[in-house]
């Protein structure tokens, strides 16, 4: 169940993910690693307490240490103002408009996914690619987040079980193990 997107929006977004980073040669793509969940949790960050903005530290537990990434940081009033404005838009609220109105990510996604429509899901891949090619601003927005959802820490909702990292041989967060001097200096 998506957190913020509607079921239809989520389905469209998954179809977009499958085209932006398709699975190739047995390596998972953005659909398989759950990049859509990353986007949904960014848009719905304030459905959680603390909001899903900054994962905790210093370790995730994947290489030892305590699993702390899942304990997201509390936000100050100013942090919340910035992130609510970025995500929800300024909506005419005076304190969010000290330098003018801001269009939020939620609105950009809602309008962009509506423009694609559920019909997008039924198109053949080449037609989907052509459709995406007609919407460069929307693709730029989604692609940036898809990259974060592929290769960012799984605690943000994407990169399911580290599958994005595994697909490129990236070790992910390595504290507290780090790397030995030999692993740094040898070929």
């Amino acid at each position: 169940m998506p957190v913020w997107l509607s079921d239809d929006e989520y389905r469209i977004l998954e179809s977009v993910c499958a085209r932006l980073v398709p699975a190739v040669d047995g390596r998972p793509g953005a659909l398989e690693v759950g990049a859509a969940d990353y986007v949904d949790r960014l848009l719905g960050a304030f459905e959680f307490d603390p909001p899903l903005v900054w994962a905790g530290g210093p370790t995730s537990g994947r290489m030892g240490g305590d699993p702390r990434f899942g304990s997201f940081h509390r936000l100050t009033a100013l942090d919340e103002l910035a992130w609510r404005t970025r995500i929800e838009g300024s909506q005419g609220i005076a304190e969010r408009e000290f330098n003018g109105p801001v269009v939020g990510l939620q609105q950009r996604y809602r309008e962009g996914l509506a423009e694609l429509g559920t019909g997008f899901c039924e198109l053949d891949p080449p037609d989907q690619d052509e459709r995406l090619g007609e919407l460069p601003a929307l693709v730029e927005l989604i692609y940036g987040h898809v990259c974060e959802g592929m290769y960012g820490a799984p605690e943000y909702g994407g990169n399911r079980h580290g599958a994005g990292w595994a697909s490129i041989g990236f070790a992910g967060d390595v504290q507290p193990r780090g790397w030995t001097d030999a692993e740094v200096s040898e070929p």
Partner: protein
Amino acid sequence: MTVDAVVVGSGPGGSAAADVLTRAGWSVVIFEKGRNHLLDPAEPTRPAADYSNDEIKFMFRHFLGPDPFLEPRTFRTGPEDGEHSHVGEVNSIPSTVGGGGTHADGKVPRFREDDFRLLSTFGPQPEAAVADWPITYDELEPYYAEAERAIGVAGVAGANPFAAWRSGPYPMPPGAPMYGATRSAAAAEKLGLHPYPAPTAANSVPYGGRPACNNCGFCSFFGCPIHAKGDPVALLTRVMATGRAELLPETFVSRIKTAGGRATGVDFVGPDGVERSMDARHVVVAGGAVETPRLLLLSGIEHPLIGRHLMVHFQTIVVGTMAERLHSQRGRAVTHVHDDAIVGDEASRRAAREAGLPWLRGGMVEHGGASLPIVEAKIYPWGEAHQSLMADSPLRERLWAFIMQGEDLAYPDNRVDLDPTVRDVRGFPVARVTYRGRRHELAASAHHGERLQAVMNEMGATWTAVTTSPGAQHLGGGTSPLPESRHVIGTTRMGSDPATSVVDPWCRVHGLENVVVADSSVFVTSTGYGPTLTLVALAARAAAGLAGTTLAVTGPG
């Protein structure tokens, strides 16, 4: 209550000044507009546990600040761009407890003797305000040595044939060289250059109660999860341990109050949004070379040179793709550097003549790699090729890079002032940066970029490219006119003559002798070196001057 000193900014400069002042017995209040993710809030003599190997948090979500929505800056290349051509992030150094020290990968070279007497050694340049510093390297050397001990610097004395003299060895031996750096250093040596282990403020052995770096690789732009980077946690923890300092995070100083040629305290806005006032006998300004002149201007302090002579480093970036994987995500981000482009040779003198300039100076060249997959992924196009490119990784696993931090000359029209319309979240005018590189920077970049490309080819690159930051059209690759360099320098220039400088040789504002600037704003020249160690040394010297103490030789911070 009147405190002995207010310190505005908790970065390397403010921390170094607070360290000297608290040891002299002064009561100090440190103001920091950003959040505290550096010190344990319950026990501020210990580091916190907020930093992590998290690319999203540090690279894409402004964890260390400033958030460009809350605290934008504006930019233009000159008045012909109008009021500004860009609003948002401009040369942002972290706005957080620890300031720029938190995100730097800790390369902390000293300057050379020549850097302090640029005008008398090399002579003037067209358009530029080339000048000598009012102090010499010899005067600063003891403070350099103390700064290296306090924050903990790893390096090898004598490894750099062009280095200035030093009174003793580095406190620590260098850490493990990156595999790629061993290859690029060998290639550079073969072409007659002189690479050496970068002086680095990351522990190679346990030092000052902090562990040795474990090579995690999340270094540049990241806070260190194990606090092996000494700057500025080493200084701040020992400041807090004196019991004479109070740290006020999330608190913005909006004005230095003055009366009768002296500062009397500061006005500030705390986390509750309420404006208050504090009386102080002295004010130390350490906001960095963009925020420091902004505060002086917001305070109505009048001097025609405040904000002028802004320098960054004009970066020349040479990248190459290797057949072999270099695993550059392991290690300290940069482990080797060379200074040949600073010293110059017959070829660079010829390049200067050809450009119609009296001389050209490059900068320290960093040998480093690329390590982060999200940054890499966003460079590649979307579609069928994405996953194959990521797996083959020509721009991460196989990429090597030279970044030259080119010396930027001081020009009066490159400057910081107050933007006429854009405000920060608290309602104060934001800083506007007006900057462009001139003939010297472009010519030096073109000359050295070509030479670095030759080193990249010698290393075995199958593909190379040269770009600059800010973009330089003549090289074809530069795009944005915004300088990427986080080394911001020179906006309250130091000198003996109040007509040509903002602060005196002890970094006191001319005409306001109880106000001291303790950051790289005071630099007279940018040099080709990162500013951190020099600004720490100068801040400690300025604070010692203020407190009337002599240099204390201490151990690890």
